[in-house]
């Protein structure tokens, strides 16, 4: 494939990478933040509105991260303190977030605002082939690469990461070991929510500029599905984002050749999403995963054991 095509895919996928990494963190600690479709929209709107008003893209990203983090905190708070169902609250917040974004963002519809400026990295961009793919972008795209590495290293190679995982797998055991399970759930749900928000703002300030009602509708659901496809592993999940991005670019390029299907092509990701979910859960795939530990890491997809299950000390 042409390096420029790959570069386009990598850049177009960066918002989803943030969102998927954020949700992976959240789910790894045992909380389901189902509100992604609403909170990303809200973050995209807040990010754009703040950047538009202040003229600062950085402030836009910060505000988006805060807004989405706040939504995530509602889920974890109502789950831990009020014992409400995470899925129920997540769905309510999805719908509310969508409507709230439309309502609060009404003055910013189709305005032209600031955007993230491209900045190639000197010297590195001259590396043949790879330079074009990895080092000829803007800071947001570089940050998405960095986020993959950071989340991976944090989750699997630091003490805090292991504590996070134990809270999502065996909260009782973790608690007995002295790990403050619920405090970790607060922290990492908020952090994951912030990443989701950055993903939303990466849409409105970089990949799909501007704001309009239902701007990036359905991308939140795609992100949630990619987390499952990614087997709750940050690197595999990021790979899922790039595959999805590639599919989108292909669909876009096909449109001129299949004009009759141009209205239908946008839904193509969804049957593919269903089929991949069927595939990762298929007994045959699972069997391969159990037989070989190397292959298992690639194909198996098991949720954290205590995902969505609240932990109360009683």
């Amino acid at each position: 494939m042409h390096p420029e095509t790959i570069a386009t895919i990598v850049a177009a996928s960066s918002p989803l990478v943030f969102a998927v990494l954020g949700e992976t963190l959240t789910e790894k600690v045992g909380v389901v933040n189902l509100s992604l479709d609403g909170s990303m929209l809200l973050a995209a709107m807040v990010g754009f509105a703040i950047a538009f008003t202040t003229g600062s893209v950085e402030l836009g990203f910060l505000a988006a991260a805060l807004a989405s983090s706040l939504v995530a905190l509602i889920i974890v708070f109502t789950s831990i303190e009020l014992r409400l169902n995470q899925i129920a609250i997540g769905l309510i917040l999805t719908l509310l977030g969508t409507k709230l974004a439309a309502f609060l963002g009404q003055d910013f519809v189709r305005q032209v605002g600031p955007s993230v400026q491209a900045r190639a990295i000197p010297y590195l961009e001259d590396i043949p082939y790879l330079g074009k793919i990895f080092f000829d972008h803007n800071p947001v795209v570089y940050a998405s690469f960095l986020a993959i590495v950071l989340v991976y290293t944090f989750l699997f190679h630091t003490r805090h990461g292991l504590e996070l995982q134990s809270s999502g797998e065996r909260p009782e055991a973790a608690f007995a070991k002295g790990i403050p399970v619920n405090r970790l759930r607060y922290i990492y749900t908020a952090l994951g929510g912030a990443l989701v928000g950055i993903g939303g703002a990466a849409f409105s300030l970089d990949v799909k500029l501007g704001w309009s009602e239902g701007h990036i509708a359905n991308f939140g659901w795609i992100a949630l599905a990619i987390v499952i496809f990614g087997g709750w592993h940050p690197v595999r999940a990021a790979l899922g984002c790039y595959i999805f991005g590639a599919l989108q670019i292909i669909a876009l390029r096909l449109q001129p050749e299949l004009p009759g299907l141009s209205q239908v092509l946008p839904i193509l990701p969804f049957p593919i999403m269903i089929l991949t979910l069927v595939a990762v859960n298929h007994p045959l795939i699972r069997k391969i995963g159990l037989r070989s530990s190397v292959l298992g890491k690639i194909v198996r997809s098991d949720p954290p054991a205590a995902l969505g299950r609240p932990f109360w000390r009683e």
Partner: protein
Amino acid sequence: MTYLKKMFVSNMSVMSAFCAITISLMLAILLLWFSGAPPIETGKLLLEGSLGNATRLSDTSMVWVPLALASASLIITFAAGLWNIGVEGQIIVGAIFASFVAREFDAPAPLLWGAMIMAGALGGMFWGGLTGLLRIKGKVNEIFGGLGLTFVATGIVIYLVIGPWKRAGIASTSGTAPFDSKAWFPTIMDLRVSPLAILLALAGLWLVYYLLKQSKFGLQLRATGINAIAASRLGVRTERNLMLAFLLGGVLAGIAGTVQVGAMHHKLVPSISGGYGYLAILVVLLGNYKSFRSGLISFFFAMIAVGSIQWQLRLDLHSSLGGVTQGILVLVVLVVMAIFTQYQRNQRI
């Protein structure tokens, strides 16, 4: 769960429900105020706009019908412990099947209506069944299976409207050609309200109530929902029950789709499901998965949906404000009720 049930019959629960509703209404008023709308005026407009005259009342009841049917569909699947978010798609497929009958068959009017309802139910059942198959055989969580299938249904409807079923000469997303008037559900005078549609919604709510409260199937379904493993040890065929819940939910959603084409639009349009599948999630959460309550709340939500059009027309408020109000209402009521429950739990310890 039984603990929660006990709470609900106590006086405390009446008080907490009252407080929850008061607080959320106050918040809604604050929100309206904050967004530049005079609260009393908006309240008056909401009532007038949804119930003020026969036309508006009939419009409100025609929003109520699909919403109540979608809620009934969700209650059945919720009872089995399922998050059947795919209701929206099942409404769409029901509408497609009913449109097919309306377009292709010629029969005396009442027969045609019956055939449309049957076809719509079948369509919804088919789509619900697919979600069920994905969940039971494919181990795909019904949230993702249902949503994915909803988007597929959206694609199919757009394809039909601009492709094979396009209006003679022009392909536009404004919909197919109107059906022959024989396929239009009868209405009261010139109003939109169709007694047949109202009857279908009432029957749907009653059916769900009856099944869950009075039948062995309902008992088994609820047992499956509370603890599937325990239920299967006790001899309940859980997979069969889950599948039946999906199919039955699909039937109700499909009938909602039929009403949308037969009594509302009289043609197939891309936005045929009207978002009722998603809105019904809020209704059912607020109605605590109970059919009678959800029926009432559906009506209240239909009032907001129809009444808030006046907010747009008269006060120049954004069309999403109705949806914002509904969302905040549900969130606040659940939170306030939970605070009460939590308070009582602490009292007992």
